[in-house]
């Protein structure tokens, strides 16, 4: 009898293979067996057969075939259109059926996504920054890295003198463009002065950068020292519809200039923003004519920028090498001060690294990442909310999932079903969030410094594509957790409606989420509350001088004495003084002075006349005030801090002291004034003195009798017109001006308010979802309690207790963190600041609890009122 392959081995292989097709494998084994028989004994052939079979059983080939065969053929195609259709239909039905939860989910996601859209629209626009320059790949900027032995700083600017070196001493640089951003002039036109800001630039500027001229020749426009180029919008301001080319206008400092070209308006996505360009030569001339300007001006790198236009062949390393070889102290007059240089490519400027003294808007990675973090802080809770609410409602979908699984639905199927459902919701939310985006975008632009002129949030193809991708990603993130959860369900348990084992753990996760969300919301509320109280503290701060009923009239070039005479005629004006600025609202100019004994000290200076002290109720501790004559120009009135830094024991001892200015002139102290806040509250009171010089006076301070202010101001305006001036009357009350200088607090309030609103909306929606779910699941319990005699109040307390605990926990977490954070924040922004106190914390808590508790009680009270008969009838 012919020997057969061992049957047991065959059976074993078949058994191990389960449903996997092994016909060909077994065939090979059989064939091999019969072949073996021809040259070996039956026993050996059988042993060999066993060996082969076992190797097949443990081989990857069988494992793979088993895996492929694990699912019936008809369900293995994951991307079947009919199934998709079915998912879509089921998703729509379940969304419609549970309108309330759909609404909560959609709203939460919409709110969270709206800030994401803002971020994306912003990034999408920033992406286009400076991409209109045709030479953008060959333009580089030289940036400076300074080291003064205390700190290292990086400046966008570089000394202009570097430009000479770069254009002469090295090949490979086709053009060097010096840009100086200090061009800030007023153009005289009819009776008005129109302010214009721009740059002094080398003539080659217009050839290197792609700022096209609509009129004039770009090659010659800036060749004449008195020829300037203005933008179309500046041209409209100056000449309306007339052709500006060849017109002559008068600019302050620069004198008469000719318009030699008109530029197209500067695109918003340019890191350079200007209205007027003047030749660099004009800047050089201007400095030459000012004998007071320090000699070492060419070494100064502030506000001076150097751009390089490289020839196509030159390599970056070669230029960088050259820059590295420049001795680090060659462009500075200060000891212990070193500057190194680096090249920065044009596209890397904005958004780019954080640099001091930037020429245009600051789009540094640092500020953008703060915005990104804020976005994520809002967006991620919104996604969590969705996951949270979906999982807590798992019980309602259990039967469906169990059935799908029994009928051959795989994990992947269930997973994709819930992902599709989430994406459907996300797109609904996306519609709403686009609406929110359009509503808030203008407000948002106004919140960013210079946002409206350097940022555009208009929808274009790129941002819309990014939006849709974003919605998809949000859908995937929000849906991933619930989809995995549902996909994991065991069909038997699901059909029996047994929630899977880790129920407690899941609930803890959800609780944690709620706590974190409320803690975050409380943080934002604290932000709003503390900023408001900081603002109130600031404007009600005792500056140490009188600000009531003082009208500051901008002199705008009018002779101070004429103005004084004219205003003095008015009955409503009690007294008049002159000053160089608005005290208490802005940073003041500082100067380094010394006396015989002490080293140089930095002192803030302010010009005022003799009646200024009286007018503002400043107290003289010793000495006298200015006599308003030419002798007064050599006098100063110092403050108490000044005495301290010059080590003068008493006010009286200071009188008659001589101090020396940097230019060698000497001044005599004639008075000492009590300390007051001469600058804004961001900095402490330091050494300060008043000087007298009518040429420096910019404002007349009119102390008014407080009867009818409107009429009085009318009278003052009338006398202004009598003065020999063409300028428009410009006046403001002192206290208004001080308040205005702190208006940036409103921007913070708006920002925190907006973010806080989003955060609170999301947390309250999340809470609402959880409360509703809990209440729904406990309806029977409530019924039983009622039957047993519990009152509505009892039940409300039972139902609300857990959630109130969560909110308390959130408050416990948020208060210390918020306390430390906001105290530090104010410490850094303002020297005289509030400390976050009981009132602020209590106020924030009150807001949070009013919102949170109303969310909770809206549901629990309703549930407690339900008639027990309705819930228990079926039992």
């Amino acid at each position: 009898m012919k020997p057969h392959p061992p049957k047991l081995a065959d059976k074993l292989l078949e058994w191990c293979a389960q449903h996997a097709p092994i016909e060909d494998l077994q065939g090979d084994a059989h064939e091999n067996f019969y072949r073996n028989l021809t040259h070996m004994s039956a026993a050996r052939a059988k042993a060999d057969y066993w060996k082969n079979t076992l190797s097949l059983i443990f081989s990857y080939a069988l494992k793979k075939r088993k895996k492929n065969a694990a699912y019936p053929h008809y369900s293995s195609n994951l991307f079947q259109l009919t199934m998709f259709k079915n998912y879509f239909v089921i998703a729509t039905r379940s969304l419609i059926k549970h309108k309330f939860f759909t609404a909560i989910n959609v709203m939460g996601l919409a709110v969270g996504m709206s800030i994401g859209l803002l971020f994306i629209a912003m990034m999408s626009f920033l992406w286009t920054y400076d991409n209109f320059h045709t030479n953008k790949d060959r333009i580089y900027r030289v940036i400076s890295k300074t080291d003064d032995k205390q700190r290292n700083r990086e400046f966008a600017s570089a000394p202009a003198a570097l430009a000479d070196k770069l254009s002469h001493d090295i090949s490979g640089v086709e053009a060097v463009v010096r840009v100086n951003s200090t061009l800030s002039v007023n153009a005289k036109k009819d009776n008005n002065e129109i302010p214009l800001n721009g740059y002094f630039v080398d003539p080659v500027f217009l050839n290197v950068f792609s700022f096209p001229l609509t009129k004039g020749n770009p090659h010659t426009a800036l060749n004449k020292p008195n020829g300037v180029v203005i933008t179309e919008s500046a041209a409209t301001k100056l000449f309306n519809q007339e052709d500006p080319l060849g017109k002559v206008i008068e600019l302050t400092n620069l004198g008469l200039v000719e318009i030699t070209g008109v530029l197209q308006n500067i695109p918003k996505n340019s890191h350079m923003q200007f209205e007027v360009l003047a030749p660099y030569e004009a800047f050089v001339n201007l400095n030459r004519n000012q004998p007071t300007a320090p000699v070492d001006d060419v070494w100064e790198h502030r506000n001076s920028y150097v751009y390089l236009f490289l020839s196509p062949k030159s390599t970056l390393d070669q230029i960088q090498d050259f820059l590295n070889r420049i001795p680090k102290n060659s462009y500075t007059q200060k000891a212990n001060y070193e500057i190194g240089y680096e090249l920065q490519a044009l596209p890397a400027i904005a958004p780019g690294r954080e640099l001091y003294n930037d020429i245009g808007p600051d789009w540094s990675y640092a500020s953008l990442s703060i915005f990104l973090v804020l976005t994520l802080l809002i967006l991620i809770p919104a996604c969590f909310n969705y996951a949270n609410i979906s999982i807590s409602r798992a019980l309602k979908r259990m039967k469906e999932i169990g059935l799908r699984k029994t009928l051959g639905g795989t994990r992947q199927h269930i997973f994709s079903q819930f992902i599709i459902e989430t994406i459907l919701i996300t797109f609904l939310a996306f519609g709403f969030s686009c609406y929110i985006f359009i509503l808030v975008r203008k407000e948002f632009l106004s919140m960013i410094v210079g946002g409206s002129s350097t940022l555009s949030l208009n929808l274009d193809a790129r941002s819309i594509t990014a939006f849709i991708l974003f919605a998809l990603v949000v859908g995937l993130i929000a849906g991933a957790v619930p989809a995995t959860y549902f996909a994991k369900l065991n069909p038997i348990q699901a059909l029996k409606l047994q929630p899977i084992g880790k129920g407690i753990a899941k609930f803890n996760l959800r609780k944690t989420l709620i706590v974190l969300q409320f803690a975050l919301s409380l943080g934002f509320i604290m932000g709003v509350v503390t900023v408001i109280s900081q603002y109130r503290y600031t404007v009600n701060f005792d500056f140490g001088f009188n600000q009531k009923n003082i009208l500051d009239v901008a002199l705008q070039g009018v002779n101070p004495q004429h103005a004084k005479n004219e205003f003095a005629k008015l009955a409503a004006v009690k007294s008049i003084s002159m000053s160089s600025g608005i005290i208490g609202s802005s940073a003041s100019e500082t100067i380094w002075v010394k006396n015989a004994t002490a080293d140089s000290t930095e002192v803030a200076q302010f010009y005022a006349d003799g009646s200024f002290l009286d007018n503002l109720h400043l107290t003289l501790l010793a000495g006298k005030t200015f006599a308003d004559d030419s002798l007064s120009k050599e006098w100063v009135i110092v403050n108490e801090q000044f005495l301290k830094s010059f080590k003068l024991p008493t006010p009286a001892s200071a009188i008659g002291q001589r101090i020396t200015l940097p230019n060698g002139n000497e001044l005599t102290v004639i008075g000492v004034v009590k300390d007051f806040h001469y600058t804004d509250l961001r900095s402490p009171i330091r050494s300060f003195f008043f000087r007298y010089n009518p040429q420096e006076f910019r404002y007349a301070n009119l102390n008014l009798t407080s009867t009818d202010l409107i009429e009085t101001v009318g009278g003052i305006e009338a006398s202004w017109k009598k003065l020999d001036t063409e300028a428009k009357f410009a006046a403001q009350f002192f206290d208004d001006e001080i308040e205005e200088s702190y208006s940036f607090y409103f921007v913070i309030v708006k920002l925190f308010g907006f973010l806080g609103m989003l955060a609170i909306t999301i947390s309250c929606l999340g809470l609402l979802g959880m409360v509703v779910f809990t209440v729904e699941n406990r309806m029977k319990e409530i019924g039983v309690r009622k039957v047993m005699g519990a009152s509505t109040l009892n039940i409300t307390v039972v139902l609300s207790k857990d959630f109130v605990k969560l909110m308390l926990l959130a408050a416990l977490i948020a208060i210390p963190i918020g306390y430390v954070f906001f105290n530090n924040l104010y410490l850094q922004t303002q020297y005289y600041h509030i400390t976050v106190g009981f009132t602020e914390i209590a106020g924030s808590l009150l807001i949070l609890f009013v919102l949170g508790l109303s969310t909770i009680f809206s549901q629990t009270i309703k549930a407690a009122r339900v008639n027990a008969v309705d819930t228990l009838r079926c039992e």
Partner: protein, 109 residues
């Protein structure tokens, strides 16, 4: 490097190519055993074939039932275009290396 081929994988691919129309499990096994004088198990061979199929270097089709195998069908294999590309790659690599190392590899003493 994408699609790395091991020594045995290369051997199997080349054998499949050399057998052209009649490459199936057993014939491949015998060819390799005959040429390399080493004994390989069916499990190891099929595991490698499966991996080569995953990499898209091999494709297969079922043949007709034959008496010899008790009516069981054979699975015939064929090298795909990608498989050929991969083989060419490895051949070039070898040749390059051989060229570079002529001196040191010469067997002449």
């Amino acid at each position: 490097m994408k699609g790395y081929i091991g020594e045995f994988e290369e051997l199997v691919l080349l054998t499949v190519a050399s057998l052209s129309e009649s490459a199936y499990g057993n014939s491949i096994k015998e060819q390799i055993e005959a040429r390399t004088d080493r004994s390989i198990s069916l499990g190891a061979l099929h595991a490698t074939i499966t991996r080569l199929e995953e990499k898209n270097y091999l494709k297969s089709r079922l043949g007709e039932p034959t008496q010899e195998r008790g009516g069981r069908r054979k699975r015939f294999f064929e090298v795909t275009h990608q498989g050929k590309v991969a083989l060419h790659h490895i051949k070039e690599l070898r040749e390059d290396l051989w060229k570079l190392s002529k001196a040191t590899l010469s067997l002449a003493k």
